[in-house]
């Protein structure tokens, strides 16, 4: 199988702190064709009770994928990124991400299983603030296609 089951349960090191900028929130919101003004208009965000511009719910993928990269880059995991297909994604938000946040994240390999000649791997990434308070939990499943898939 194309994912080494020995990495199951392993937690990889946290990423360097990611600073959420207003322009990153605006750029991501535009890229997913967002219309709600709280993603781009500071006055609208504050009028709605938010500290700053609010990130779209899938913005956390930026931080999650930075953390997951540690597993993909681990030669022991044996993941050939050119054969990876994104199978499944979930975010459970403990609070909304806003501009000005500083986030770190670490990925744990939650599941590994064979799928034909390939493998399915599930990453759980815990995204936290500088005090370690939970912000978001990301679950990502990747299918690594086997040679004949």
């Amino acid at each position: 199988m194309s994912v080494n089951p020995d990495v199951l349960g392993r937690t990889y090191p946290s990423i360097a702190p990611y600073q959420v900028s207003r322009e990153a929130v605006r750029a991501f919101a535009a890229a997913v064709h967002a219309q709600a003004p709280v993603h781009s208009d500071l006055d609208a965000a504050r009028a709605a009770g938010h500290a700053d511009l609010v990130a779209p719910p899938t913005f956390a993928i930026i931080v999650a994928q930075k953390a997951e990269a540690a597993v993909v880059a681990d030669p022991e995991a044996g993941i050939d990124f050119s054969r990876v297909v994104h199978a499944d994604q979930r975010f459970t938000h403990h609070r909304a991400i806003v501009a000005g946040d500083e986030l770190t994240a670490a990925t744990t390999v939650d599941a590994v299983r064979a799928v034909g000649t390939g493998g399915m791997v599930t990453f759980r990434t815990e995204i936290v603030d500088p005090e370690g308070q939970p912000v978001s939990t990301a679950l990502s499943s990747l299918l690594v296609r086997g040679e004949d898939q």
């Binding site: 990153a24 750029a27 991501f28 919101a29 535009a30 890229a31 997913v32 064709h33 967002a34 219309q35 709600a36 709280v38 993603h39 709605a48 938010h50 609010v54 990130a55 779209p56 719910p57 899938t58 993928i61 930026i62 994928q65 930075k66 990124f81 050119s82 054969r83 297909v85 994104h86 199978a87 499944d88 994604q89 979930r90 975010f91 459970t92 938000h93 609070r95 909304a96 679950l139 296609r145």
Partner: protein, 159 residues
């Protein structure tokens, strides 16, 4: 919030949107998300790994779908849990005249899947389709619609 919880009924369609996608949209999403996998912008690379063509980031499709729920509810902080399974790739063929032009369309529909009056939550179920453009000989208008996401759900909380 733009919507009263009490006004919702199970099965009700609360929002629809069509999102036209071009190769430029994929480059824009790549830059915004830091996901520069070349299968999303380099056609020879995409076909060399067995894909029919350049395909959209699954997360672009998911993001565009979940945004329909956010824009309907009005408050991103109320959308506390989002999930999907990616079943079919969204093929984005090359198209340009005076500039890069949209070459495919996401059709998104959001319905109330379940209501929990005690927790004041609604599970919004999303249906997302795109034309099957994996065969370059098939025109966009003639291509059958494919369900590109399955179990696409957003949990919305009224506090």
């Amino acid at each position: 919030m733009n919507v009263e919880f009490e006004s919702l009924e199970k099965g009700q369609e609360v929002a629809t949107r069509t999102v036209e996608l071009s190769r430029a949209d994929l480059v824009r999403y790549a830059a915004a998300s830091w996901d520069f996998n070349p299968i999303h912008w380099n056609e020879p690379f995409a076909t060399s790994v067995g894909l029919p063509n350049v395909i959209a980031h699954g997360m672009l499709t998911m993001g565009a779908a979940m945004q329909v729920v956010v824009d309907w509810a009005g408050d991103p902080a109320a959308v506390t849990d989002v999930q999907t399974r990616f079943t079919k790739p969204v093929v984005v063929p090359n198209a340009f005249g005076a500039e890069v032009e949209p070459s495919t369309t996401l059709s998104i529909s959001a319905k109330v899947g379940a209501l929990d009056p005690e927790a004041r939550t609604a599970r919004i179920d999303l249906t997302v389709t795109a034309p099957d453009l994996s065969d370059p000989g098939v025109a966009r208008d003639a291509a059958p619609a494919l369900k590109v996401l399955v179990k696409a759900q957003a949990l919305v909380v009224w506090r």
